[in-house]
Symmetry: C2
Subunit: 330 residues, 2 copies
Amino acid sequence: MKKIEIGHGSGGRLTRELIHEIFLKHLDSTELRELEDAASLNMHNQAIAFTTDTYVINPLFFPGGDIGKLSVCGTINDLIVSGAQPRFISAGFVIEEGFPIGDLETIVMSMARVAGETGIRIVTGDTKVVEKGNCDGVYINTSGIGEIRYRMSLKKISPGDLIIVTGTVGDHGISIALSRNEFQIETEIKSDCAPLNDLILPLFDIDGIKWMRDPTRGGVAGVLVEVCEVSGLGIEVEEEKIPVREDVRFVCEMLGYDPLYLANEGRAVIIASEGCADRIMNSLLSHPLGRESAIIGRVSDGFRGVRLRTSIGGERIIDLLDQEMLPRIC
Amino acid sequence: MKKIEIGHGSGGRLTRELIHEIFLKHLDSTELRELEDAASLNMHNQAIAFTTDTYVINPLFFPGGDIGKLSVCGTINDLIVSGAQPRFISAGFVIEEGFPIGDLETIVMSMARVAGETGIRIVTGDTKVVEKGNCDGVYINTSGIGEIRYRMSLKKISPGDLIIVTGTVGDHGISIALSRNEFQIETEIKSDCAPLNDLILPLFDIDGIKWMRDPTRGGVAGVLVEVCEVSGLGIEVEEEKIPVREDVRFVCEMLGYDPLYLANEGRAVIIASEGCADRIMNSLLSHPLGRESAIIGRVSDGFRGVRLRTSIGGERIIDLLDQEMLPRIC
């Protein structure tokens, strides 16, 4: 199988070939084809959102996705939960010398598929190659631009607001943990990695939505702790309302993970006023990616921080972990 | 000295500390301080340019700059040569476990300095940490958004147009080669790494400018070959008109490099009609970064490809190299 050579990152003839034979073949857009250093874009409005993420996930291929799908979905999701309709994405590759070109093509095809399905365009890119041993296969940075359609703000959150998650929690984290092959556990668990624009966009018509975030690194717990730290409010979560797949719960118990801290790549946490909860839930539950949405808790001014009411009636304080349970989860 | 741990990339408490103690300390902008996944930005117009580059330069610190300065200058330059006034930059870090936090801070301070000097804002970021041996210190992706002020196009180029470079050629490439310490040569050569927005912006008032590019990987030769391939025209360059520092020329001769292929990080190649050459040269020569600007050649329809007229009256065909002479130059 053909492999990446140092020369593929040189800006010379080999780089040109790689761009044409892999990137332009699959990610064909008018802007990319120009091969300029910057893409010229026309926005519909002047209020835009801008985000960046580098993906260093290990392994590169996992049940439910690969680093290519993840890198495009992740940036789409960062934009949509910020109230912005995703429009344009950039892709910056760091590739390890010796990486199979066939694997690179599979990854690029995954990126192209998500872009095609969502109508979001990959318009500019960059390729660097480093010597064998200076990268773990491939790292991908995707940055994204969206048009702001809804003004989310932590400042809008007030006591009584509800906490909604748009699906089961922890699928991505557990699928990655198991795909590292350390545990020899066979399951059907797949990453929830998915683009959320189609699920979330209709919600921008609902005024009572205060704020959203996709619970990736740090999980739902990380998102809620941050909300409390910034707002000075409290959040009470009911453990039994948190949607967790049976097999994810089982693996968590075996391995000592808490699903609330596990990364998700196709879920959103939504904070909204109680009055619009029915409309939000109806909208979410009618979408394939939101069928297991649930109201899991409520904002309060009676205390600070995040409290979990456990299924047996106890109470537990939720705080940030010093470290992720699973490094390189995204 | 404190070092980066895997937990610094976890999204937990350590990540938070790193963000506050290093990134927000130096890169303080309203948008970054929000700590949202995407920055909300207001553009002045709807025609924007979008670019991305990942920097994997080795070594991280070199005469005239470091990876931080390079990563911000590089993205500013990609925007300005595309006819766009740079406005906003994102920064995505991949950091190797064990990397000294003091070095990271130096790098971030370099980024902050260029941003401060140019008025360009770093508005969103991401930090990932990989295990020791899976990255060579630190890789930085910067993506950038600018507002289009001038429409550059290769299609505007016509026979008789002049080729201008805005300064000496090859300084960056040679400074990197020598700072790798393989050759034991002592010189005063520094990278030309610099932000070009202030040099180039005044040129947008001159109609006769056709197209620009910053000659990084692949050098001036790479840029000119690409122009010829896309336009179907020829370019003749006069070797003796190409500004090359004496010490750069000396090192090139010793090591067998051709300055025309060496990377530059603070230069632009400008193609413009002959009629506006005086105005352009006056503007360039009056700026500290353009003092050694020179007209080095001319576009022709009498042949295809790039020809170099050598100082002894001969002629040489300039083509792309298969490989870069120096990998990891940016």
